[in-house]
Symmetry: C2
Subunit: 202 residues, 2 copies
Amino acid sequence: MSTARPTPEATPDDESPAERKGARTRRRILEAARRVFADVGYERATIRLIATAAGVDKSSVIQYFGTKQGLFREAVHWDIPTAEVAAEDAEQTAANHVRGMFAAWAADPNSPMAVLLRTSMTSEDAAEILRAHITAQSTDAIAATIDAPDARLRAALAGAMLMGIASQRYILKMPDLKDADVEDILRLVGPAMGTLLDPKSG
Amino acid sequence: MSTARPTPEATPDDESPAERKGARTRRRILEAARRVFADVGYERATIRLIATAAGVDKSSVIQYFGTKQGLFREAVHWDIPTAEVAAEDAEQTAANHVRGMFAAWAADPNSPMAVLLRTSMTSEDAAEILRAHITAQSTDAIAATIDAPDARLRAALAGAMLMGIASQRYILKMPDLKDADVEDILRLVGPAMGTLLDPKSG
């Protein structure tokens, strides 16, 4: 299966045909769930609606994911590859973050991060997952690389700024941002992030 | 009426009691509309729901605002006091923008800007209003003050960054941002904005 993406649902070679079919069904349910959550929000999405969108029985969704909350958590889960993103200086690390975020958001308008952000605007349950996820994966990780006072606040501000840029470019499609060249954005944002994250280098 | 806020609906002294009552009703409908749009989104909000929330007849809402779209446009309209915000240097201008945004968002969780941003995440109609508004009031205005290449892109990035910070602080309530001191945020964000908006001063 050379076209399989390296997701947690990717199937190792030693799985049986039934296990592979199960993994495909799971993946199809997760993709349908992201579409439905993005379209109607967390509160209005139902397991029935998601099952219909995925073309499976409601019982299959329950079998694989249990509850709507369990399904949502898996559907919007993503890992920031913190170790891969880390570079020698803060400006380069920030640039790597931007590249990774842009690539994920450009590849799929219903990427886990985009769906979680959109649903968080109207659902406290979704917002709670977003808070925990961003704090653990972004703020903690960036703060650990900062050698300056207010490391946590600097890291949280940097994360908020990057999410502001990504959401205005990909979700809100602001005219001056949606078609801008990624390299132009990096060239302008990089030094500003450097000032925030590594003030001594400025 | 010393408690009246200086909104477009504020009544001059020479208005009749009937006109003053009309202005109060209008204001009550606008406040209820912001609550309803924020809670259920643009698509699901109905004039009936908003009339109920405001404690008025559906016919009054139609009389004052015509359509749901007309009501929405007025409910989420705000003016950035561009002339007042403009300062000698870009860093100070950005700081003034942050102060103004934070004050508006802190004063009312359903401020016009917050409601428009939240509804834009799930409604293309709302997103179109947001795009036009931010481009005209923020990007154009900030770009006009920038004396560097890529002025429009710099201005759009600055606006996106500030909205990212405001939305993560006030809507998503990120733990590292929600209780942070405004002066601490300004102290860290100001130089980064200066680097972006006025690169020659760095």
